[in-house]
């Protein structure tokens, strides 16, 4: 029973981490109509920036500064590269983010090398047992930080004027522009906030698991699965799908069921994609997506 409980909590923390990433991706997809292939690169950038900043100013400062810096870089990229491209259509924008993912990967390998970094959490977050459970404190830390940020995001979107404008700009950009709001600035804001969220997820994941140049590729595809399964452009759908994928992968790893000659742990990396294919056959628009989108 306790083992089950710990596995569920582990899955929950991984799922919340996934949602930190997919929330930004979904918002960017909604407001810009662009699939941001560089989203996972900002995630990786967050982890590496945190590593670099933590060496000088300590972990707690890096925890705040690295996501902010990632967000600024994201906003700058939107302003300098994406905005002039907006007239040329979504394909050019998508391709340029794809190119950026290559460039970021190369730059990170140039600055920090190809080997994984030895980078770990401060002592206070390194215990293994909480309340007599065999749950690492770091997982609890991930859950706490993600939940705080997500509540803040929800409040920002649903309880402030800025959030109102952002939501309106997703569905009716021309009307919002005509009413005197600066839609290009809203796009930059959303891209920046989305990148900052990705950077925060990178800080959490990089310090808890591993910081290496392959981390973007490993995470990027799973986040796309979350967006497809949840329904493209639906935040709530992305939330449900994140938890679903997080649980599925963690439970398959920790239970290790034998399925014929193959154990479920070997199948764990493939499970999100199996889920995606099944979802596409059963419900092509995703869990909470709109029909005929």
């Amino acid at each position: 029973m306790e083992f089950f409980f710990v596995s569920v909590l582990n899955g929950l923390s991984y799922g919340l981490l996934l949602f930190l990433l997919s929330a930004g991706l979904t918002l960017i997809l909604g407001i810009m109509g662009v699939l941001n292939f560089a989203h996972a690169s900002f995630y990786m950038l967050g982890a590496y920036l945190c590593y670099a900043l933590a060496q000088h100013w300590g972990f707690s400062a890096a925890l705040v500064l690295a996501p902010l810096l990632t967000g600024l870089l994201g906003a700058g990229f939107e302003h300098l590269v994406m905005r002039p491209l907006h007239r040329q259509g979504h394909v050019a924008e998508l391709l340029v983010t794809f190119g950026l993912s290559y460039v970021v990967l190369e730059l990170i390998q140039l600055l920090w090398g190809r080997a994984p970094l030895s980078f770990s959490l401060p002592q206070a977050l390194q215990g293994t047992s909480v309340w007599m459970l065999d749950l690492p404190v770091s997982r609890l830390f991930i859950m706490a930080v993600s939940l705080c940020v997500l509540v803040a995001l929800w409040w920002l979107l649903h309880r402030t004027r800025t959030g109102l404008v952002v939501q309106a700009a997703i569905t009716h950009p021309d009307m919002v522009q005509a009413l005197g709001h600066n839609v290009p600035a809203v796009r930059m804001l959303v891209f920046g906030v989305g990148s900052a969220l990705a950077g925060l997820a990178g800080v959490l994941a990089g310090s808890t698991f591993v910081t290496e140049p392959a981390m973007a590729g490993a995470m990027g595809a799973v986040v796309f699965v979350v967006v497809v399964v949840g329904g493209m452009g639906s935040l709530l759908g992305a939330f449900v799908a994140s938890l679903l994928v997080g649980m599925l992968q963690t439970l398959a790893l920790s239970w290790d069921l034998p399925l014929g000659s193959i154990s479920s742990a070997r199948l764990a990396p493939a499970l999100p994609f199996v889920l995606m294919v099944l979802m596409l056959i059963w419900r092509p628009q995703g869990l909470l997506g709109k029909q005929g989108d």
Partner: protein, 402 residues
């Protein structure tokens, strides 16, 4: 007709220039990569479908071919020259099975679904060692099987000829298809799917058909690669390969057949020769890709074609001094910025590579901050000159137009 003659001549002359051995082997690999680029060109350049999982089909073709070759090794009467074709047909069937869900919606949905299927294949391949051979993959011998007359697998010239024949056939066939009703439908779906749906054919079915054709050609490319390398590992499904296929096809130009040949050549060079010249080749290619996507979506082949077909009246004027200054400044900025990147890469391996680096006639010392600052300053100055001269030119053009 002129184009066919030019192509045959090119494919005949190139190996005479490189000669047998390493050069010929590189050319053969380039032909195989060009075939894969051709498949992507049809899918993206004609169909407007941006697939991020085309390695599923090149990989499947490679595995089908390697299984056929193993059957031939075991004594089955398999004609070796037809192995890529059979692999292509089998892969087309796979593309038909997966194409239904892949092509239901275009754009971002298609990109994500193909990416997901690519990851699925990559994750599942090592789980079934009986089919995919586990980590080590499967190997086979191309000299076995029916030789069908004169073709001999042991001869590298015969292998090159086989790749060339398949490449020419694919170019000819795709050229025919592009001008057929299917080609028109495919382009119509790319531009105006909604309107085409009202006229008649279902856009989903058109996309699906195009996807199957692209999958088949990718399968032939995979089959050829299996014959060239005689070994296939699950690495064939690595999503990085799908990304590279997109990168090099778009970089080289996706609307003209010359782009596929150039893309194939670049793919092989990026893995063999370029890393020997500079460790930063991946970075340069990525930046070049971003610049081309934003400034010249027609790609390198498209740019070359534009220059080739430029209006005769415009080409005869001498370039203005400002334009010359702009070009020199751009070269200067690129030269110094590239030098900085190279310095940074060598700085990573300071202990093995040493602290002295020659660059365009300069001798740079990596342990002296002054050299770093000098390079940065030079790059910035040239970039500034470039910015000023290009603004000046833009204003001049505007005034001339007014």
């Amino acid at each position: 007709m002129r184009r066919a003659l030019f192509l045959v001549l090119l494919l005949l002359l190139l190996p005479m220039w490189t000669g047998q051995g390493h050069g010929l082997s590189l050319l053969t690999q380039m032909g195989v990569a060009a075939m894969a680029c051709l498949s992507y060109q049809w899918l993206w350049g004609q169909g407007g479908m941006l697939s991020f999982g085309q390695a599923v089909y090149t990989g499947a073709g490679a595995y089908l071919a390697v299984h056929l070759m193993r059957m031939a090794d075991a004594g089955w009467p398999v004609p070796m020259v037809l192995v890529p074709l059979l692999a292509g047909l089998g892969t087309a069937f796979l593309a038909w099975a997966l194409g239904g869900i892949s092509t239901r919606r275009p754009g971002a949905a298609l990109a994500m679904i193909t990416l997901g299927l690519g990851e699925l294949a990559w994750a599942l391949a090592p789980v079934f060692p009986s089919v995919f051979g586990g980590e080590g993959g499967l190997s086979a011998d191309r000299t076995a099987g029916l030789s069908l007359g004169i073709w001999q697998g042991a001869n590298p010239w015969h292998l090159y000829a086989l790749v060339c024949v398949y490449l020419l056939l694919a170019l000819w066939g795709l050229g025919k298809v592009e001008h057929s009703p299917l080609g028109l439908y495919v382009r119509a779906v790319r531009e105006q799917a909604g309107r085409l749906a009202h006229v008649g054919p279902d856009p989903h079915r058109v996309r699906w058909t195009a996807f199957v054709l692209a999958g088949g050609i990718a399968g032939v490319a995979g089959g050829l690669s299996a014959m060239v390398f005689e070994i296939v590992t699950p690495e064939a499904f690595n999503p990085v390969r799908s990304g590279e296929l997109l990168l090099f096809t778009v970089l080289a130009g996706s609307r003209h057949w010359a782009g596929a040949l150039l893309g194939g050549a670049l793919t092989v060079l990026a893995h063999t020769t370029l890393p020997q010249w500079t460790p930063a080749s991946g970075l340069y290619l990525g930046v070049l890709f971003m610049v081309l996507v934003t400034r010249a979506p027609q790609g390198l082949a498209g740019l070359a074609l534009q220059w080739w077909r430029r209006e005769p009246g415009r080409s005869l004027t001498w370039p203005k001094p400002v334009a010359c200054l702009q070009a020199v400044a751009a070269l200067g900025a690129l030269g110094f910025a590239g030098g900085l990147v190279e310095m940074a890469y060598q700085y990573q391996q300071l202990s093995t590579a040493g602290s002295v680096m020659p660059w365009l006639g300069l001798t740079l010392k990596l342990d002296q901050p002054l050299h770093w600052m000098g390079m940065t300053l030079a790059a910035l100055v040239w970039a500034g000159v470039w910015a000023v001269s290009s603004t000046h030119r833009r204003h001049a053009t505007k005034e001339a137009q007014a």
